[in-house]
Subunit: 317 residues, 2 copies
């Protein structure tokens, strides 16, 4: 197994997530460098003291040479070209990604680089802002970082990817790609849609309504302000899982409308929502419990990690 | 016209809104006192140096004696009993309220105190917390405070109520009761329902989903944590307006589902939501423009205040 503490990391894409990852790793003294197609972004990264290049072939040749872990950090539409470049210039390197859907990325990797050593990842961190200027080396501190954990995942590769998440300050959440995609549809992608329609219904009412808008509207519609192309790439890349939770959301709102119209009551929807919010707070506000009693690589390790993660535990080794 | 700067204010109900109002007025040296049925709340208010009593007849006799403006600040279910007490003990006093719906409160006042001098109000301020311990004299600083503004509103009474809002640090938003109720259905009550179903859909998915939940879920479901009985009183008291905006919300989500299922696209819902959020930010983040060129009491003053408020202006005189 490679020495995961000093192994170089090569980051393809230096936006909010990729750029923040480059900064936190380099700041901690780990060999880390990145590629971005925008020479402006590269100039900003270099001016801040980071190792960045606008030449993908050169960056990938370097990654092949020093056995770097390659991190795909571009938006979904640019992934296929990036994967093709990896297959050409650094086919033997371990590959991970930080994209918000996992099954689609796995398909893109399998199609463009069939022999890839690939272990997906997804840090649950972000803001409504994007680009290098929004980067923050503390972005991942205490955040959850999903790492793809399947029965055929190579343990050494898994440890290398999980080690990057830990080095960035995050907790590791082991999960299968399909379970991850269902989960983020429910807690991230669907909230983008409910924020969007809540914003539209409010702004469509009147300027008086926007004038009276206070905390519930401000917080409830915040993510609707995210760049539309980023939202679309994320949501459309997870269409199947999102359709399921969106249908459930419509069903719940329709039941609320019927109860309000027929009985003048919103008791069920309000009580259910209150209970759900309190369940979230119980998970989110407490220190996460660590996964225990399993060594990565032992028989059944991946299944056991997933089982404990489904009880909201995190990997912290 | 009374001297609105030194005129006493009598507040019935010392929860988050009423208690914060008592504090900000008394802190500024204005004669202000309050009633609360809970002796614990009264003891806490007194211990903090405020003038509070658990005896409604005594408090209202005092209000009648010193010509105080009476502020109804109890939840909707307790209003009818409060209005009856006002009719009995202080029938000549000017009456206002701080309740989040206006047509229903106007009905309750008209039913229980037919001759009342009543000008409704609604400060757009609150938190997910409630009760005296959550009160904050700065709660209304810079907030919007709707004041009922109809063609038959008495100008002196209107100025007395608007003056309380200004003394609390708020901007005054003049509006008709029905326009207010439609507006708050769109920017407050509907967001409570979308937050509730978003929370339920997320928590219902899995503990893994709650573990991965980050900013979009945290902010988008925040108000679902408000005490259910307060949410119910607010939403069920505005059922007609809420049903309209809720139906629109369901329609928008259904259109989004159809577009995603049939064309793999969320372009329309995301673009509409983004535009709406930016429209909100343009209104909320800029300093509000003042209403100009109208003197309260002049011919057509109420209509002109409403007209300018519908262009997002505020009264600051």
């Amino acid at each position: 197994m490679e020495n995961n503490v000093s192994r170089p990391v090569c980051i393809l894409g230096l936006g909010l997530i990729g750029g923040s990852l480059l900064r936190v790793l380099a700041d901690a003294g780990r060999p880390a460098y990145g590629y971005n197609r925008s020479t402006t972004t590269v100039a900003h990264a270099r001016a801040a003291g980071y190792d960045a290049s606008p030449d993908p072939a050169q960056v990938l040749a370097r990654a092949a040479d020093d056995d770097a872990v390659i991190v795909l950090a571009t938006p979904v539409p640019a992934l296929a070209a990036m994967v093709a470049a990896v297959a050409e210039h650094a086919p033997g390197c371990l590959l991970t990604d930080v994209v918000s859907v996992k099954e689609e990325v796995a398909r893109i990797v399998a199609a463009g680089h069939p022999g890839a050593r690939y272990v997906g990842g997804h840090p649950m961190a972000g803001t409504a802002h994007s680009g290098w200027d929004a980067t923050d080396p503390a972005l991942f501190t205490g955040a959850m970082w999903m790492v793809s954990t399947h029965d055929d995942t190579d343990p050494a590769d898994w440890l290398a990817v999980a080690g990057i998440a830990r080095a960035a300050g995050a907790y590791v959440v082991p999960a299968a790609n399909d379970a991850h995609d269902r989960a983020v549809a429910a807690i991230s992608h669907n909230p983008h849609l409910t924020a969007a329609v809540t914003a539209s219904a409010g702004a469509g009412e009147s300027a008086l309504a926007l004038r009276l808008a206070a905390g519930s509207f401000r917080d409830g519609t915040r993510v609707a302000g995210t760049a539309p192309e980023l939202q679309r790439a994320m949501l459309e890349g997870n269409a199947t899982a999102l359709l399921n939770v969106l249908s459930e959301t419509i069903d719940r709102l329709t039941a609320a409308r019927d109860a309000l119209r027929e009985h003048g009551s919103v008791e069920v929807v309000v009580d259910d929502g209150h209970r759900a919010r309190k369940a979230y707070e119980a998970v989110a506000l407490a220190a996460p419990e660590p996964i225990e009693g399993v060594t990565v690589g032992d028989d059944g390790w991946a299944r056991e990690l997933r089982r404990q993660a489904h009880r909201a535990r995190v990997w912290t080794d």
